[in-house]
Symmetry: C2
Subunit: 611 residues, 2 copies
């Protein structure tokens, strides 16, 4: 009796080979019999939904049914697309399920706000060298042609010499030809796992993700403060450092490259991975971080009219950048939009999925700059506002980053203050989310009025309000002490810093809404990108007017979408192309000198009045 | 008064910048005023031919006229295509003339049998860095984006790190960004010339061409006998050598790489060219030569079913192959069709232009294998026959290559023999063209009958026919001597070798004609490729039945079309894509075991009878 042999040609939902059967069974039955995950037929195989599309790659199958003619276009039919429920094999057949999955991926991305990653066409594919058809006088195709399949001829088919010299000896063995974007790269043993490194270079923090390419899963990461930090805390000070001499620019480049290089080495050692098993390094970050990594001049970014050296996607040989552990790899730099809308934002737009939402949605990344994107029908508008570093704790008397001991939540009532710290230890300062919480509570309780003025001890009996060096302050800690000397407190100047920062971001949002002609009430989702976005409480952000109050309930933090975008870019062809497309469809709105923005900025300087 | 400034943006017919004018003048007038070559308006600017298409790259121009609406599709209009005769600038404008030239190039290639090379879109382009529009708040495009133009986003945008770090400092200077296939490669000074190296690796001879990329012209070459020759004279003996051990395979690879490397070095020294000025190395040759260069296993080529490792176009890093003078370049390997229809033939098909001829045409390359291609409507069929080395002088008693002293033409009358030698010196042997001439004359004069039998001295009084070791021979030299001891002669066995060789090639041609269902009389052109093809006299080839007699007058030698194809591939995008397309559209017909071929082979063993 003939048995059915399913052979996974490709990783995940790629190509499957089906041996000729003696009994007639539909492809849908065969797919279900063999427990292939991720392939759905919503109507249960009744032929009514038209969703169970497969592509016949080779082999002979049953005739097109009337039902298929109704549900598939003639273009689809001529491309070999069939309904799995209505079609069955007539010979050994290879089918491709990736098309089906691509569609379902887009649907799930749209309906879930982009937080669910479906498995679609991988960038790294493996072709088993023991499964190639034998050569014959009827099939004289070259070994490489058979292994690659019908790639279209292009001028960018760069193949390593070692592969050409060793391919022949691996044919018929338990080895796979590994292709990246359809171009042969190396030969791997059947059991050898392959990885990519995805990196998010934040101005403050750098995270390297080790990604298992078979499943597109992050299996470990290595993170730390950006090694460039000692040369400047923020983007502008690093640009100042880099542009003062070539040596200093090179020093910044070496710092970040060697940090990532060490990260890769550490991850590889931890998981016993050889450099050859790593297929690429994919990097996202803001435009300045990308420039400093690439060794590009950043002076154009710092000053009007803010012209970067590059924004398009490009790859650079790792060895040229100074990578030593994996010198032969390509370093992929995700596309940016402008000097202050970087690859972290294009990655974020993709991960949030606002460009495939059918409703107006916003992505907001709060840092020293508030970077934001707004999707409307077929394009995306985006801008960046200079919020200043108040939300990162800089320029705030007791401000600090999100470190152990930082006050991260604050609650007030008439006579007490309660707070939490990161790590639950004694407070050493206050970080961004604590600052927003505290100011929100001060407004809610009337201790700060809508102009931002902090009440004096004469005007209130709240024990947090004290004098310090003659000016009123609000103490979060040490309320029972007479003086503010041992307390963590906010000053009037601190509150002014918060006012300026929130005004910039809120005015940016209003400008985008106005440019798009969309009312606040019509915005469906507001996604907060970045680490900071995960920590702030939307209610507090609404209270201080950082985000519109009506959108508080529709606000959702999506975490490190820059890193997540880099991970997806490194694994999935469809995601990579989506990010390239996002970058091309983003229209940047320059706010400096933008009349409407200035009007909004002045309006938003005030805190919201009670409803 | 404003003046018109034309600035060549690109080499040749690429982009031109036009400064705003005070008087209204059509683009056609401006183009003619400034003597731009290669741009034709067949109707003389009357607006009736619709041929003077240009593309408006940027700037404002006059409105679309009714005439343009009639002659251009809406798709063309929306792509910015206009008629130069009916459109004039309204501001500073950049126009692109390459589109126009592309069309005219295709037309001229078709009408001239492909022997005329027009200047079309170059693969290497230069963007002047002193002509980029200044950045402004309205135009914040990155420097690289402005320099590249609107390239579509792709995953293969590999940029050298050195370019990213130096681009900024060259903006506004008299330097050009150099792009290869649209990907930025380096920065060149305005006056710095750029070159490519095109190589034809023949089994016998290797030629390296130095190509000036501005004009697509070969300015020098370096040639020599293939350095692998000492390891085997022909393809089969080299494969035998290569496959007996890895060391021997490497030895063959080193021999050819170091030969080409030295050739490049010699050409560079001769013309004072630095390695950076050379943009690529482009190589054509038969499939075995390509494999030996790439270090790929050739055992599959030697034995049935004749499976090569690769046939598709690919590039390999020069350093990996062992190139030392230009280690950073890509070595481009032109596409082949099969084990015995190599890149020399795909290049030859392109150069002969048989695939764009509207009439059935044949390309024939005679060597140890007779390789041939026949174009019919939308595809090309090709095959290879094992002719053996008789036409290269091997296995012929006095046979020799085309060297000084080789008899290269022979003429008989009833009592004399006249001949010429290469270099006009005393004869040392007879080369392929002399052999064909001599056999043709023997047939014409009846000294050899149609079965190939040489008359004996008893049967003729021609002084060339003598005995030698008891067998009749035909002496070409020393006719006045009694014995053949000091003569250059052909033996009966030599004539049998010629019979076998010509039968293989003639049968191959007949098989292609039969497969295509085309009669000999309907073949319009027979192009002879390769050095040998240039030397043989078509009349003699027709006399011995090597080519059909009716095609003698339609036979044309096209020289080293393999090298010429490599030169074109290295210079022109359109030619490169054409060669890729040719390779994809070639259908290979395997003659071993081909029934009809065997019948033809037996028929063609006989020489043609007198008409």
């Amino acid at each position: 009796m003939n048995t059915i042999t399913y052979t996974k040609h490709n990783t995940l939902l790629g190509e499957y080979q089906i041996k000729k059967l003696e009994e007639e069974r539909s492809f849908l039955d065969l797919i279900h019999d063999h427990g292939i995950e991720g392939f759905d037929a919503p109507c249960g195989g009744n032929g009514t939904c038209g969703k169970c599309r497969i592509t016949i790659v080779s082999g002979s199958v049953s005739h097109v049914t009337e039902n298929e003619k109704k549900r598939l276009s003639s273009r689809e039919l001529s491309a070999g697309i069939r309904l799995a429920c209505s079609c069955s094999p007539r010979s050994d057949v290879v089918i491709d399920l990736s098309h089906h999955d691509l569609e379902s991926a887009v649907i799930s991305a749209a309906s879930s706000g982009g937080r669910q990653v479906s498995r679609i066409k991988p960038r790294i594919t493996r072709k088993p060298l023991d499964m190639l058809p034998d050569g014959s006088l009827e099939d004289q195709r070259a070994l490489l042609s058979k292994a690659i399949g019908n790639a279209s001829a292009s001028l960018s088919m760069k193949v390593p010499s070692a592969l050409l010299s060793s391919l022949h000896s691996h044919i018929g063995t338990e080895a796979d030809l590994v292709l990246k974007d359809g171009v042969p790269k190396r030969i791997a043993h059947r059991g050898e796992k392959l990885y990519s490194i995805a990196v998010d270079i934040g101005t403050t923090t750098v995270v390297c993700y080790l990604v298992d390419l078979e499943f597109g899963e992050v299996i470990d990461n290595f993170s730390g403060l950006n090694a460039q930090k000692k040369f400047g805390a923020d983007v502008i000070s690093r640009i100042a450092y880099a542009t003062s001499s070539v040596e200093q620019q090179v020093r910044l480049q070496r710092a970040i490259v060697s940090q990532i290089d060490s990260g890769i080495r550490a991850l590889a050692e931890r998981h016993t991975i050889s450099p050859e098993q790593i297929m690429q390094i994919t990097i996202a970050g803001n435009t300045t971080m990308m420039h400093l990594l690439a060794g590009a001049d950043t002076s154009g970014i710092a000053a009007s009219p803010f012209i970067p050296v590059f924004t398009d996607f490009l790859t650079v040989p790792a060895v040229e950048l100074g990578f030593t552990f994996t010198p032969n790899l390509e370093v992929e730099l995700l596309p940016s939009v402008a000097a202050y809308v970087g690859a972290d934002i294009t990655a974020g737009i993709h991960v949030a999925g606002i460009h495939v939402d059918n409703t107006p949605s916003i992505l907001l990344d709060i840092g020293t700059n508030g970077e934001m994107a707004f999707s409307i029908s077929d394009h995306i508008i985006c801008c960046s506002t200079a919020a200043g570093p108040a939300f990162e704790g800089a320029n705030i008397t007791f401000g600090t980053g999100g470190v152990r001991g930082a006050i991260d939540t604050v609650k007030l009532d008439d006579h007490t203050v309660s707070y939490t710290t990161i790590g639950g230890i004694d407070p050493i300062g206050i970080c961004g989310s604590g600052i927003i919480d505290c100011v929100a509570e001060l407004i809610r309780t009337g201790l700060v009025d809508y102009t931002g003025r902090l009440l004096t001890p004469e005007e209130t009996d709240h024990p947090g309000i004290k004098y310090c060096d003659g000016d009123p302050v609000f103490c979060i800690t040490a309320l029972d002490e007479e003086s503010a000397d041992h307390a963590v407190y906010l000053t009037q100047k601190d509150i002014r810093e918060v006012q300026l920062a929130k005004a910039a971001i809120a005015a940016g949002l209003q400008t985008l809404l106005s440019e798009a002609g969309v009312a606040e009430a019509d915005v469906e989702h507001l996604y907060l990108a970045g680490g900071f976005g995960s920590y702030i409480r939307p209610e507090s952000a609404g209270e201080i007017g950082l985000i519109p109050k009506q959108l508080v309930a529709r606000t959702k933090a999506i975490g490190n979408s820059s890193g997540e975008g880099a991970v997806r870019f490194s694994c999935w062809e469809d995601h990579a192309h989506d990010i390239l497309t996002v970058a091309q469809h983003c229209q940047y709105i320059e706010l400096s000198g933008h009349r409407e923005f200035q009007d909004f900025y002045i309006q938003e300087m005030l805190f919201p009045m009670e409803d």
